[in-house]
Amino acid sequence: MTLFHPELVLVQRDSLQDELTREIFDRLHGIPVKTVEDINAPIPEQNTDSHGAATRRLILTRFRGSFMKKCPGSGADICCNYFVINFALNCHLECSYCVLQSYLDNPALIIFTNVQDLMNEVREKLIAEPYKFFRIGTGEMADSLATDDITGYSRRLVPFFAALPNGILELKTKSNQIANLRDLKHGGHTVVSWSLNSRPICRSEEAKSVSLEERVAAARKCQEWGYKIGFHFDPLIYYPGWEVDYKEAVKLALGSVDPEAVAWVSLGALRFTPHLREMVRRRFPKSRIPYGEFVPGHHGKLRYFRPIREEMYSRMRAWIQEAAPGVLVYYCMENRTVWERSSPSVPRDTFDLSDRLDSRVRPD
C-alpha cells in the first residue's frame, strides 16, 4: 500500500490547541508545517488535479458542524439504516472509481482534530435514544484506517465505543493498517471491515491499496484479536471473466476467517454519476470500468442494467453461502425488485434489514 507521506502540513490556528494535532506533528516529524488562519483561503496548486493533491498535503482543522449523519443510501428501497461520522475528508489511495474525486474539491487530505467534540456529539445522540441501536461507520468520506498510523484515531474511537451500550463502530478500509487495534479494549463494539474486490480489480483500479491477500490477512488478524469482521464487495465490477475472479475472492476471504465472526457481507454493483464517469475517463484513461453497460437510474446515477446486477448478486450470494453458510448478506443501495430476484430472503423494509444487521453485532 502507498503510505500517506504528506509534503506539507497546513494547520489551522484553532487546531493547535488539540492533543491530536500535537500527536500528528510528532508522527510527521521533519515535514514542513504552516499555520494558517483560514483553511478555506486559496492555497497553491488548487487549480491542478485537486484530488491527486490529496496524496501530498495534509490539512489539520476543527470541524464545526455535525459529525454524525445518517447515511444517504440514495435510491434504496431497502436501506441498511446506517450512520456515518466524518473524522476526515478525502483519501490518498485514489481508487479509480472513487466518488470522493467528484464529491470533494479539497486539494488535500483533511483531518479533523477536535476528536473530543466528535465523541461528545456521538455520546449525546446515543444517550438521547437509549432504545435505538446505532451502527456507525467512519469510512464514508475517507478510509477508516489508511491514515491511522498518523492520526491514531482508532485508539480513541474503539475504547470510546466499547463504553456505549447502544452503538457499534464500523471501521471500513482497504488497508492493512491494523497495528493500533491490537490490545484495544473493544468490548465487541467495533466491527473491522474490508472493502474487497477481485484480484484484477484490486491491481488495476485500487492500485494504491493493499492486495486482496493482504486485506484478508489483516482481517484474520483482527479476528484473532476478537473483533467482528465485515466484508464489502463494493463496487462489484462486471467484465469478461468476472465470475472466476470474484469466486476466488469470495473463497479466499470467507475461507480465511471463522464465519461465526463475520458480522455481515455487503454487495453493491458499481454506480456513478455521469460526471464521475467522465472524471474516471479523464483521470484514469486506462480504466475499462466506465465502459460497462449502464443505464440511468435514481437521481440520474448510472448503474449496470438490472439483469446484470441481478446476475452478479445471485452468483456472489451463492458463492458466499457455499464458503460460509449462514453469513448475513445484504445489498447496498438497491431496489426491491433486485432484492426479490436475487435473494432468497427479502427484508420487509429498512427496519427489518436494520434489525437483522443489529442482531449480528448487538451485545447480549
Binding site: Y291, E293, P296, G297, F305, R306, P307, T337
Partner: protein, 293 residues
C-alpha cells in the same frame, strides 16, 4: 455588383500590393475586378500599397476588414481567416479572442477560437459537412479530438447519411465509447461490414440510414438492454392487443412495472378494450413480459 458598376461605375478602388512594375498582388477587390473585366473594361481604379511598407500580414488584415465591411463570413471562411491571423500574421491567441472573434459575430471565448482553429485543420470532407450544415459546431468540436484517419472515416460516413443534431451527439458518443471499449479504433468500427452495408443500401434515405446506423451502434454498445427491448417488443406483439392500447415498460426496465394506456370515447369502446386485455391476460405471453433476461 455588376448592375452597380454598370449604372454608377466603380466607387471604391481595389487594393493592390505593389511589388514592382510587373508584380502586383490583389489584396481586396477580386469580385470588382472580375465584374469590370466582364464588362470589357481595361482600366480600374486601384490603390497601390508599397510592398516595403505592407507585409503579407498587413495585406491580409486590410483584405479582412474590407470584406467584413460589406458581407458576412461563412463558418469555414471564419475558420480560415482566424487560422491565417494566427499562423501567418502571428497574432496571439488572447488577442484573437479579445479583438477578432466579435467581428465574426462569435462569443469572445478561447474555446470558440480553439474550435474554429481546429475546424480549419480538419479533414476536408468534415469541413464540407460542416459547411453545408450536416454537422453541428458541437460535433466538430468533438471530431477535432479524433485522429486524421478517424476524421476521414467519419466524413465518409457523413457523406452517405444524415443525422439530426441530437442523433449526431449520440452517434459520436457511441462511436467514441465503442472504439475505446473494443480497442479497434474508430476507423475499423465505421468500416465494419454492417455499417458499410447500411451506407450502401439504395433503398434507404440518408435519414433512414442515419437512424439504422445509430441502432446498430446502440445495440453493439448496449447488447443486453437492446436484447431486452427486442424481447419486450416480441412479447408485446404476442399479446395481440389493438393498436389503441399501449403497453409501456419502466424506463430501462429498472423495475418490472408496466403501464397500460388507452383512451376511449364510449362505454362500448371501453368494453371492447377491456375484453382485449382480458383475453391477452389469459395467455403465457403476459407472463413473459415480466421475465426479463
Amino acid at each position: 455588383m455588376l448592375q452597380s458598376l454598370q449604372k454608377i461605375g466603380q466607387l471604391n478602388p481595389v487594393l493592390l500590393l505593389n511589388g514592382g512594375p510587373e508584380r502586383k498582388t490583389i489584396v481586396a477587390g477580386f469580385r470588382r475586378l472580375w465584374a469590370l473585366r466582364g464588362m470589357g473594361e481595361r482600366c480600374a481604379l486601384a490603390r497601390l500599397l508599397p510592398k516595403q511598407q505592407y507585409s503579407i500580414a498587413d495585406a491580409f488584415r486590410l483584405a479582412l476588414w474590407d470584406n467584413l465591411s460589406h458581407r458576412q463570413f461563412k463558418p469555414l471562411e471564419i475558420a480560415r481567416a482566424l487560422s491565417i491571423l494566427r499562423g501567418i500574421c502571428g497574432i496571439p491567441l488572447d488577442v484573437l479572442v479579445r479583438d477578432y472573434l466579435h467581428l465574426f459575430g462569435l462569443a469572445e471565448h478561447k474555446n470558440i477560437l480553439h474550435t474554429y482553429l481546429e475546424l480549419d485543420r480538419m479533414d476536408g470532407g468534415l469541413r464540407s459537412c460542416f459547411g453545408d450544415g450536416r454537422l453541428t459546431l458541437a460535433s466538430i468540436e468533438r471530431l477535432a479530438e479524433m485522429r486524421p484517419e478517424d476524421q476521414f472515416a467519419f466524413a465518409a460516413l457523413m457523406n452517405e447519411i444524415r443525422l439530426s443534431a441530437s442523433l449526431q451527439r449520440e452517434v459520436l458518443d457511441l462511436v467514441l465509447e465503442l472504439a475505446e471499449l473494443e480497442e479497434n479504433g474508430i476507423n475499423a468500427l465505421l468500416n465494419s461490414p454492417e455499417i458499410i452495408f447500411i451506407q450502401k443500401d439504395a433503398g434507404l434515405s440518408p435519414f433512414q440510414k442515419g437512424q439504422k446506423i445509430h441502432e446498430v451502434l446502440f445495440r453493439q454498445r448496449n447488447p443486453r438492454l437492446s436484447r431486452a427491448r427486442r424481447q419486450f417488443e416480441d412479447g408485446k406483439s404476442k399479446l395481440a392487443l389493438p393498436g389503441s392500447i399501449r403497453v409501456v415498460p419502466d424506463p430501462f426496465f429498472e423495475t418490472p412495472r408496466l403501464r397500460i394506456e388507452f383512451e376511449a370515447s364510449s362505454a362500448g369502446s371501453i368494453r371492447e378494450l377491456a375484453e382485449a386485455l382480458h383475453q391477452a391476460s389469459a395467455g403465457p405471453a403476459l407472463d413473459a413480459l415480466f421475465e426479463l433476461k
